[in-house]
Amino acid sequence: MKTRRDFIKISTAGAGAAAISVKAFGSKGFGFFEPKTEGPVSDEDLTPYPTYCEVCFWKCAAWAYVDKNGKIRKVLGNKNDPHCNGRLCPRGTGGVGMVYDEDRLKTPLIRDTRKDGSQYFREASWDEALDLVAAKMKEVKEKHGPEAFGLFNHGTPGGQFHHLLRAYGSESNAEPAFANCRGPRSSAYFSTFGAYVGSPECTDIRDTKCLVLIGSHLGENMHNSQVQEMSDAIDKGATIITVDPRFSTAAAHSSHWLPIKPATDIALLMAWIHVLVYEGLYDKDYVEQYTFGLDYLKDHVKHMTPEWAYGITTIEPEEIRKTARAMAGAAPAVVIHPGRHVVWYGDDTQRGRAMAILTALLGSWGKRGGFYFPEGVSVPHYPHPHFPEPKWTWKDWNDGKYPLATMGITTELLKASIPRYNYKHQVKAWLVAGTNLPLSMPDKPLFKEAADAVEFIAVMDTMPMDITGYADVVFPEATYLERYDVLRASPNREPNIALRMPAIEPKYDSKPGWWIAKQLGERLGLHEFFNYNDYAEVIDWQLKQLGTSLEEMKKVGIKKFPRKSGPLYLGEGEAFDFNTTTGKIELYSVDFADYGFDAIPNYTKHPEPPQDFYRLIYGRAPMHTFSRTSNNPNLSDLMSENSVWVNPKVADLWELKNGQEVWLKNQDGAITSFPVKVRITERIRWDSVYMVHGFGHKNKKLSRAFGKGASDTEMVTNVLVDPIMGGTGMRGNFITFLKENPEVEGKEVKA
């Protein structure tokens, strides 16, 4: 089937081959002609520039050290920054690799067709590329209305385009981070506490006595400050309880590891709630004063005993009781970590609710060692005219479904782009900034159909990621170390702001996101929304409003402000009005009940793997983030490909050897494009397999990442949609092993 937009695979065979052959020579021996490698450079010869990291979303403030030749030598954490406390994670430390990766996008690219009909990217000037995108935006506005131009975004690059689109008249944007990651817990915690857990989460792990990780693999995800605080907690002798079907790093450092059967977490949570309620271990004063619905809860969990949970979760009733009592003993200094990527089985908002209810029963919300009240600096907006009101927004795609969604749902944006889904409001073109949709979205066939259906796709990225293969125009973005950007003002214990300024000029012909957005804005006649020449002016204005200046921030990088919203924690017996319908913490969710959802979570049984299939569980590795870093030379050195973890009993059954390459096939017949190596390990159960996410890139321009490992996302074709907020549950997929290359067998390889 010929698609309108071919996935353009451009090979850099020449450059790649040269690089490999030089390395294969190994030692050259004669130091005569090549310049000697410099040893370490003394700090006196380095100039530090403040920035905050963009490799992941933790946004740790850092200093980029530039040597006398104008090369960034290393990036170290800013000691005053609460996100990192002076210590960056491996991705941040390897951030220099992002700048000096030769595979970076260097010039704007425009899709063109050759005489023989094949499509390719030709290099273009900025003017040509910007003119083309602006022309398309005008065209869409005239033909379909500005709302028909959608945006997929993540991180600070997206922010600039969000501003542009709002000025243009569209709020048709969606971030994978919502429906494909943490959305369910936002809706769950908001409906319970009237507040979001935020990013970084407001967990007071530093002072906790008991840390409960259910759906969080701290240590394998490098959520910097939280991993640091977990280490502090270990030093202080805190009890760590990890619930995970896999023996994760966190499980290894825990006092209790509950090897739960996958898809049964709600049963365990409800059993814990049962123990707390029926053994009277919950915080009676706190619950009395601040919560609503205890009677409903008591009634609801009556039959959810540990024995009942044992039959479902395979966790011994005694263990359930012991861990519940440990939590209660540590209360209120107990953190039930809300998790991060929580889209599992489609009932994830309810699971989040169970965790929130547990938190409330332990009385730890708003208490030291539990959850603190974060506060962020309110950075004034640079003056611009009022945004035009769009006729419809992302809320309208949902068409009444997912009533408690708080942000655009990416899969809905995809469906709204495909005419045959017949959505009332159709999306005709996309801007994609900072997200690699083919590897981050489940249901790849849906994505491909949508990419084929829209009239125009413009992508802004730093690397030739897989998404660029689907674009009509590609904008090369300057990396975070080469640009100014919005002030970071994430909420934390102390309100603080961090500055990002360029350490070096953008390499090649790349440009900062703010410049691209402004250039497009100018061409669309939206000058008043971009009333500045250099983004430094915007930052300086904002800083002056806050009582400081760009000059000062350049010297310190981060500045803290005094709290204005009150203390970090609830005082003993202090009166507090929660931002919920009842004004109290809702153990029984009135909003959920109103919309016809379970007001208190129920356990639903989910399908189990069929014969010869194994549940696919995926997660993170601390040296990588998303699919973004697989090509980074520093980080691909640490981990160049993923592997599929297989239990030794399963390996015996299939006669698999360690390091053997297998293809994976899922229950819907999808097959991975590339093989993946087997790792035989006891750390995974016999009914599941585990893979680290972010590998299996198909774009040949990624010389280090192309073809390495397999993409777990290709195996996620069964999407379990959460009816409450549209979250896309991805863990209901099962895989089997193919030991022979399916192409050789003549089977169709589904890309």
Partner: protein, 177 residues
Amino acid sequence: MRYAMAIDTKKCVGCGDCVVACQTENNVPHGYCRDWIVERVDGTYPSLSLEFRSERCNHCDNSPCVRCCPTGASHIGQGGVVLVKHNKCIGCGACIQSCPYDARYSHPEGYVDKCTFCLHRVQKGQLPACVDVCPTKCLYFGDLDDPNSDVSLAIKDRKWKVLAPEAGTKPQLFFLT
């Protein structure tokens, strides 16, 4: 003065930050590393134990690499730190053969290279790059002869082990267990 390092395996999560930080600080070429992470799993599901070790040159007290170097390029520097003088090294590889920890490697430029405990930083009162960056703060560095240094305090009250003690090298990297 005897520099040494302690690694708390109860806190190490095997993130590899120490590896990247060393690479950017010391300009280690891609494809090579002066320190590395080893993961060790024991047991059968679900009775399992897991240990992460951040390993590097042990700067042994009885270092075989210094002993076997024919030119004296491998030598003991300040504080017992084992160093390599690049312009004395002939690249014969004897030291690589003699290290039971495989801590040395042949730098593409011909000489032999390895962890130097970031002596250039330590001499200025800073910590080695790996110790400075570790997010879990599981690396402790200091002078063993000073009872109040980080490393002395770390090994005082904890059980620890060294790698391959039977090789007789008297390594100075202590793994807290």
